[in-house]
């Protein structure tokens, strides 16, 4: 896909999103006009701003057709082959991290995440890898759980119970 095609697709998407937002406000029965004696209704702000977004998208489309933007004259690939790998694997790893946090809990997820990045992406030595894979969860535990009393996602009950078993030592030994 060239940058030129990408700009067209993006402008069409932003236009559709703007229209979708307008429709969303409109179908919610929010008053999009000026209410007499009260000023703007609840829907006026989002509705007309979305309309403005739609107009801006149309302007971009027109400029694309007239080849006025630098992007519309650019026929280089939108994302080059090298970067598509790097970028998608990074974005994918965050996605995987979020999914893992939901199921196996934050700490195990972080171990896997760190192993992946440090060992497989970075090809660092095993001591370094293990240091990060174990050090990060411990740091996160101390900062978020102990110091800031946040209860991070623990995943499915079985993983939560395992965590609580470990967490119990903290209360038994230090309080």
């Amino acid at each position: 896909m060239t940058v030129r095609t990408a700009e067209l697709l993006m402008a069409i998407t932003t236009l559709l999103v703007s229209l979708g937002l307008m429709l969303n406000v409109y179908t919610d029965d929010l008053s999009i006009g000026w209410v007499r004696g009260r000023g703007p209704g609840a829907g006026m702000w989002p509705f007309w701003l979305s309309a403005g977004m739609a107009l801006a998208s149309v302007a971009t489309l027109v400029r694309w057709a007239q080849k006025k933007t630098p992007e519309s004259r650019n026929t280089d690939p939108y994302i080059s082959r090298d970067t598509i790998f790097l970028v998608s694997i990074s974005a994918g790893s965050v996605l995987a991290l979020l999914i893992m946090m939901t199921f196996i809990g934050t700490y195990l997820a972080l171990v896997v995440f760190m192993l992946f990045f440090v060992r497989f992406m970075g090809r660092h030595s095993w001591p370094m890898t293990l240091g990060f894979a174990i050090g990060t969860p411990i740091f996160v535990y101390l900062l978020f759980e102990v110091a800031l009393t946040k209860y991070l996602p623990k995943g499915l009950p079985i993983f939560e119970d395992a965590f609580l078993w470990v967490d119990n030592f903290r209360y038994e030994w230090f309080y």
């Binding site: 940058v3 990408a6 937002l21 406000v25 009260r38 977004m53 991290l97 990045f117 991070l152």
Partner: protein, 506 residues
């Protein structure tokens, strides 16, 4: 005047009590640490450490929390500069020039400028606070919704120059930010708006931090990976004493922006609704407008770091003013501090100054000390912060991603926002590649709700009569200033052209 000095003296004495001094030090350090973690701003730190302070006397407790608040304000600049992720909304404007400076290998200069500007901003602000607290509080009361809206117009007017070169895309970006800010429950009408897919989570709205961390954390990281192909890292800076001295001398380049930011920040901060974020943004915008070289802003101009940093520190002190004189919070953090004061048995309100002078002056005294402690800590720690930039990308990337995810989770305690952050990050990256500027969207989501709410409050109170904005003096002045700001660059350009034409003729 004399009584002020005497009270201040006793306040400083209070701050120099060994226990209090220790607490100031601990608070500043804790604040720096919490503040430089993306997502964990002073709100988190103060809220969580509040119960600990039940164990010490109230004055010591508030000194500790105020020091923490202060430290966090400085800390926000650190992640803005080194990681390119604003730790809190107040540090957004610091990213604009701080990040490019770090990429050019000038992170130490940026950090130094941030520290010094913060110190000046904080100090100016405390002095103003000490001298003029009561009359300023009276002035803040004159600010109704109309004035707030006019102030928002002024804030928007200062951003005119911040957009990209592609006007339709810049407009789209601003409007997108404003619309995203409207997601959630509308407090004026009490009806839910833009609840996508009927998910009840959207009723809370899309938080600023979710958007900012998505765009600057995830999006920026993907962008950096692409531009560097994951190989080259930012220039490593060798810190030496002589370089530090040189950095210190640079102060001339940003001193004007710093003064501007300090006074503007304090003034905006004292208004209960505004707070430090609009102050920092306005200060950045104004510095750019009145700069001799506005085009260098956003590309690593050190004045672009100093202006917002001076303003946000000045404003954070300023926002203590409505809290202490009226018992009204100027920011979420001061709201929690207020809660703390109530728990300690103090009664924040108009009588606090006369009924608990030891407490108030102890707090003011501690702000002088905390400011000095934090600037020293900050400059001393610059080499440590710089080390972060020297890490290979395969180590830095996972750490940043982890901090982004956990930081977003910590602000709202729900996974939902981390998903939104990821989506915004990827979309932001894709749009950025097509020359859609991202900064306007981030600014708009901060100011959008304030602007919409004050506009509607004013019109309701004036029963739909829009002339209400120009019949009230303070509001009229703000609107005229906003117009002047919009016209200023145009006039300047015309004048320059004429001058050039005149020169070429001669």
């Amino acid at each position: 005047m004399e009584t002020v000095l005497v009270s201040l003296g006793s306040g400083l004495l209070e701050a120099f009590q060994p226990l209090n001094l220790m607490m100031i030090f601990a608070g500043c350090l804790a604040g720096l640490f919490v503040g430089c973690m993306p997502g964990l701003g002073s709100v988190n730190g103060v809220a969580i450490l509040l119960p600990i302070t039940f164990l010490v006397p109230p004055t010591t407790a508030i000194i500790f929390l105020a020091a923490l608040y202060y430290g966090a304000m400085y800390g926000g600049a650190i992640s803005s500069i080194t990681l390119g992720i604003p730790g809190a909304s107040t540090a957004v404007a610091t990213v604009f020039d701080g990040r490019p400076m770090a990429q050019q290998g000038k992170a130490d200069q940026a950090l130094m400028a941030a520290a010094i500007a913060s110190f000046i901003g904080g100090t100016v602000s405390i002095i103003l606070f000490t001298l003029f607290a009561p009359p300023l509080a009276a002035f803040a009361l004159k600010f109704g919704p109309q004035e707030e809206f006019a102030l928002m117009l002024l804030a928007f007017a200062t951003f005119i120059g911040l957009g990209g070169d592609d006007i339709p895309k810049t407009i789209f970006s601003i409007l997108l930010g404003l619309v995203l800010a409207a997601v959630g429950f509308d407090i004026i009408s009490g009806s839910p708006r833009l609840i996508f897919f009927d998910m009840v989570e959207f009723q809370r709205g899309i938080g600023f931090l979710v958007l900012a961390i998505g765009i600057y954390g995830i999006g920026e990281m993907l962008w950096t990976l692409e531009t560097t192909s994951g190989k080259v890292q930012m220039h490593n800076v060798k810190i030496s004493m002589s370089r530090m001295k040189e950095n210190f001398k640079q102060i001339r380049q940003y001193i004007n922006s710093t003064w501007l930011g300090s006074f503007l920040g304090f003034f905006v901060g004292t208004l209960p609704a505004a707070g430090a974020t609009p102050a920092a943004l306005m200060s950045y915008g104004l510095s750019k407008t009145f700069s001799k070289d506005p085009d260098s802003f956003g590309k690593g101009n050190v004045a672009g770091v100093a202006a917002p940093e001076a303003a946000n520190n000045a404003a954070s002190t300023g926002s203590m003013l409505p809290m202490i004189t009226l018992g009204i919070p100027g920011s979420p953090t001061t709201a929690i501090l207020l809660g703390g004061m109530i728990i300690w048995g103090l009664r924040p309100g108009p009588l606090l100054f006369t009924e608990s002078p030891d407490f108030v002056w102890g707090l003011i005294g501690s702000m002088y000390v905390a400011n000095a402690v934090t600037v020293v800590l900050n400059i001393a720690l610059i080499p440590v912060f710089i080390r972060v930039l020297a890490m290979p990308f395969t180590l830095l990337t996972p750490i940043i991603f982890t901090l982004c995810v956990l930081g977003v989770f910590a602000t709202t305690d729900r996974m939902f926002d981390t998903w939104i952050m990821l989506i915004i990050g990827i979309v932001g990256y894709l749009m950025r590649k097509l020359n859609y500027p991202v900064a306007p969207a981030v600014l708009a989501i901060v100011l959008g709700p304030l602007a919409e709410r004050s506009l509607r409050q004013s019109l309701i109170s004036a029963q739909g009569d829009a002339t209400t904005f120009i019949t009230r003096p303070i509001s009229l002045v703000c609107i005229c200033l906003a117009l002047a700001l919009v016209l200023f660059p145009v006039v300047q350009r015309i004048l320059r052209k004429r001058k050039k034409a005149a020169e070429s003729r001669a």
